[in-house]
């Protein structure tokens, strides 16, 4: 017969103020198997825990029920007490009589007490069937994969490497740097983006712990926390990286120069063989097959002729490499909203209506216009510029309900920069609300208005009219209630941030979730902001939600800390409350295999009796989360969830039966 002890906590007045603890104690004493029952003001306190420990020892108890707050709050506390008293820590059950009772039924104390008694009864019934469980451990591959080489990925890689772990940084583009490398100055302190980014890019390249794979993508992910197996496709650069000396002669001489430059946000062209920008890391060009004349016509090969290092190799092919990692950081960043569906702004067809990113490229001294802002239609320096915020943000009609968080600030920054470059210019900003909640941000926006004379108009623009040599912007200023007409030379749209086009594919490879807007979902919005529901996969930067550089860097460092904490473990302790297959009962129907949301089930050939081999399910112990979906899916009752076995649950249900 079981020897059960029941301990009822008052939680100050939290529980005892509503639930009659005495009555609960008296009722519990009558339950089958219960040897002793007592209550105490704070069971989680030192004296409270000692009470449990001493009683276990004195009474020779073999199982314990604590009636208290939620398991989430204190299950680990009481497991530790039970273990200290010499019992298996899993011989404990908690009856949640605070969140489930006193907090929600304070209006009816009698009923609350009855419910508390019932919950304790259930816990006692369950604990009677508890079995000792053993903690489990898995090995860890002490290496991290970082996907995406923007500032988020760069920071995460550097921090993980600084902790002494190996990192592979995989970047889709020919160079790392991400969006930050396209920016001019950065708010609110106006440091030059390249000046603060380039040293970090170089540090990545020089770090012994970091392997860089650019022009590469993740194509397959298998395995689980501590033991991911990842396939990475290295796209053919058609330039031998070992031989190339980065002289750039090939780019200079390449006759194919019509392709729009992605790096310059399409306001300039690039060659077929190119590095996206001069500070690229690695500083080795790639040949874009789609624009290369040789691949189109079979003729040209100019780059091969001029290359002093014989580095051009038209025969190179894509290559797939397979690597193992203990942890994965996803840092794939963002794309910008395509404003061509905004009819009122000209369906993206008015040349002098440009995007914020295009302005960044123009105003950047390293950009295609050498830092001169020239409007696309005729190259004129604009004097009057209208900025329109929230284009593809906070617009339900366009399916973009969320705030992109950085556009208020980057618009203010750009208006300031314009005034600095062109003291005679005048900028107007149409806004809905100004969201400048960061450190020093509000002051920045105020300064832009008071010191730089930028005029802020609260309202939307109804239409941009193309005139002979200017644009007529009509809108409303809702503060004065006036209709506004501005004769502008150029309009800059603050287009919002959205997840990368291929973000969902990657989510499916990794089995991580994404929200209705396509941003990757964190495990908990407050308490686990960089983890995902897949153990060992972490997030950093704008792929999780729009954010500025300070927040991105902070998040990337947080992620690196989590990765460090994971990789620093000798081996991985995993909860033993996971599923277990009884191969004798398993029919190999694969129901559980397809039901499991975490891919924790594998099929294997197993010898169940001598000479009899059968294809049966197997639970990957370090992947299983113990959600129990497989148990519900199994026709043969061949899977059971340890800690929540059918026997335990039937025992609980039995409590209701004998009434």
């Amino acid at each position: 017969m079981a020897r059960i002890g029941v301990f009822i906590c008052h939680c100050g007045s939290n529980i005892a103020g509503v639930v009659n603890a005495n009555k609960v104690v008296e009722a519990a004493k009558e339950l089958p198997g219960v040897r002793v029952c007592m209550d105490y003001k704070y069971m989680c306190s030192d004296p409270g825990q000692n009470l449990i420990i001493n009683t276990i020892k004195e009474q020779g108890l073999d199982r314990v029920v604590v009636g208290s707050c939620s398991p989430r709050m204190h299950e680990n506390t009481f497991r530790a007490s039970v273990e200290r008293a010499g019992l298996n820590p899993y011989m404990l059950e908690i009856a949640n009589i605070r969140e489930h009772v006193s907090w929600v039924h304070s209006d009816n104390k009698d009923a609350a007490t009855d419910k508390a008694i019932k919950l304790v009864e259930l816990a006692v019934a369950k604990v009677r069937r508890n079995e000792p469980l053993q903690k489990m451990y898995a090995d860890i591959e002490k290496k991290a994969l970082v996907i995406g080489g923007g500032i988020a990925g760069i920071q995460a890689a550097l921090d993980i490497a600084a902790n002494g772990y190996k990192v592979m940084l995989v970047e889709k583009e020919p160079s790392i740097g991400g969006r930050m490398s396209q920016l001019d100055k950065t708010f609110p302190t106006m440091d030059c983006s390249a000046c603060i980014l380039t040293p970090k890019m170089v540090a990545v390249a020089q770090n012994k712990n970091i392997t860089l794979q650019t022009y590469a993508e993740v194509t397959e992910v298998n395995g689980y926390v501590g033991n991911f197996e990842v396939n990475i496709k290295k796209r053919a650069r058609l330039v031998n990286m070992a031989k190339c000396i980065g002289c750039g002669v090939c780019t200079e001489k390449c006759p194919s120069k019509k392709t729009l430059s992605e790096f310059n946000a399409n306001i300039a062209t690039r060659k077929a063989i190119y590095t996206p920008f001069p500070q690229a890391v690695p500083n080795i060009p790639v040949i874009d097959k789609d624009s290369c004349l040789y691949f189109a016509t079979g003729k040209c090969k100019v780059c091969e002729k001029v290359c002093p290092a014989e580095a051009i190799d038209y025969t190179q092919e894509d290559e797939i490499i397979t690597e193992r990692f203990g942890a994965i950081v996803v840092a794939t960043g963002y794309d910008l909203y395509d404003h061509s569906c905004y009819g009122e702004y000209g369906y993206g067809e008015i040349p002098d209506v440009i995007t914020g990113l295009q302005l960044e490229r123009m105003i950047n001294s390293g950009g295609p216009t050498g830092g001169h802002v020239k409007r696309p239609s005729d190259g004129k320096e604009p004097e009057t510029v209208v900025f329109i915020q929230c284009v593809g943000s906070r617009d339900d009609a366009k399916g973009k309900p969320y705030c992109s968080r950085v556009c208020c600030m980057y618009t203010a920054k750009q208006a300031l920069l314009l005034k600095e470059h062109y003291p005679n210019s005048q900028s107007f900003v149409f806004y809905m609300d100004i969201r400048a909640a960061g450190k020093g941000y509000e002051e920045f926006v105020q300064r832009v208005q008071t010191e730089y004379g930028v005029v802020y108009l609260r309202g939307r623009v109804s239409r941009i009219y193309e005139k002979k040599d200017h644009l007529l912007v009509k809108g409303v200023d809702t503060l004065s209630g006036k209709q506004i007409e501005i004769k502008a030379d150029m309009v800059v749209l603050a287009t919002g941030l959205e997840p990368k086009k291929e973000a969902q594919n990657l989510a499916q490879l990794l089995h991580i979730g994404y929200d209705q807007n396509g941003f990757y979902t964190e495990l908990h919005p407050k308490l686990a902001p960089v983890e995902t529901q897949i153990a060992g996969v972490y997030l950093a930067g704008c792929c999780q939600s729009p954010k500025d550089i300070p927040d991105t860097v902070a998040q990337a460092s947080a992620t690196a800390t989590k990765v460090g904490a994971l990789l620093s473990q000798e081996s991985l302790e995993i909860e033993p409350m996971i599923s277990e297959v009884n191969p004798l009962l398993c029919s190999g129907c694969k129901m559980c295999y397809s039901a499991c949301p975490y891919s924790a089930i594998e099929m294997e050939d197993k010898e169940i009796r001598r000479g009899e081999v059968k294809n049966v399910a197997k639970v990957l112990t370090s992947v299983c989360k113990g959600c129990g979906v497989c148990v519900a899916g199994c026709y043969c009752k061949a899977i059971d969830l340890k800690g929540w076995t059918d026997r335990q649950l039937m025992e609980e249900i039995g409590v209701f039966n004998y009434e």
């Binding site: 009819g343 009122e344 000209g346 369906y347 239409r463 941009i464 009219y465 193309e466 005139k467 002979k468 007529l472």
Partner: protein, 284 residues
């Protein structure tokens, strides 16, 4: 021969007589038979829908009912009538209570079995504007297509179009051999019914449209609505502009390409005469 139930509306035999004349000529040539709806009544226009919702639906509903009895698609050349008919059709199909209320007033129920079309849609759907019909290409004529507010709004009346920058009339211009101009005022409001009550508003709104067309180097403006036409054409002199620009119905431009004469299409009736322009382009 395609048949449609023709709803000319109040202006086609009065202020927009020339629209009616050119419509009849062109449709005949295209093999479209306009069967005038027997006993049609006013669509209600703006007056009804600022007075009573039920009346605003019931008036066009009566015309819809008549067409439904003939089992023919209903066709209106006026954007305002079209808008009323189309919105009544949409509302009646979507709202059972309204359908019952209107049935009570009318004594019979509209089932919503017929298509509601603007004249341009009828011509696009059934007319054949291929080159053999076009006897005289309108080469060198730069045309600003003006749609006004009601041809594409609300969006339900004109699905699958870029409502701020529609293309269908521009495409029609191209198929006649003329050149559509790119301009920003296609769907601006002309001032509509304020023509008589608040004329200054019409001067401003229609004035901007005219200047916009001028700035885009258009030779003429093409319209598809009698109200737009009268605001843009009849008031040019009063506005004190330093230019004038002919405003033609799209049916008149089609007629020109089909070689109909200046007077047969009522072109003489316009305030700003297009004769000089058409002569200079060799189109008469």
């Amino acid at each position: 021969m395609y048949k449609v139930a023709y709803f000319p509306g109040c202006s086609l035999s009065s202020t927009a007589k020339e629209y009616g004349m050119s419509t009849e000529l062109v449709c005949k040539d295209l093999g479209i038979e306009l069967v005038e709806i027997p006993d049609w009544i006013c669509c209600g226009a703006t007056s009804a829908h600022i007075t009573s919702e039920l009346m605003a639906i019931a008036l066009p509903a009566r015309n819809l009912l008549q067409a439904e009895k003939q089992n023919l698609p209903i066709c209106s050349p006026c954007s305002a009538c079209f808008s009323r008919l189309k919105l009544a059709d949409i509302d009646l199909k979507r709202n059972a209570q309204l359908r019952a209320d209107v049935a009570e007033v009318m004594g019979e129920e509209y089932k919503g079995t017929i298509e509601v079309l603007h004249l341009w849609q009828v011509i696009q759907k059934y007319g054949d504007l291929r080159t053999e019909k076009v006897k005289k290409e309108l080469k060198g004529l730069r045309v600003a297509s003006y749609y006004g507010c009601l041809l594409t709004r609300p969006p339900e009346v004109c699905p699958n179009e870029r409502i701020e920058d529609p293309q269908f009339l521009d495409n029609l211009v191209s198929s006649l051999g003329a050149s559509p101009v790119k301009w920003s005022y296609k769907t601006e409001c002309c001032g509509a019914a304020f023509s008589l009550t608040k004329t200054d508003i019409v001067y401003r709104l229609s004035g901007e449209i005219l200047k916009g067309a001028r700035e885009a180097d258009a030779d003429c403006i093409m319209v598809a609505c009698p109200l737009c036409h009268s605001n843009l054409d009849a008031r040019q002199e009063e506005m004190g502009l330093d230019f004038s620009i002919p405003v033609l119905y799209f049916t008149q431009l089609i007629g020109l390409a089909f070689s109909f004469g200046y007077s047969e299409m009522g072109l003489r009736k316009h305030f700003v005469q297009a004769k000089g322009l058409l002569n200079s382009k060799g189109l008469l």
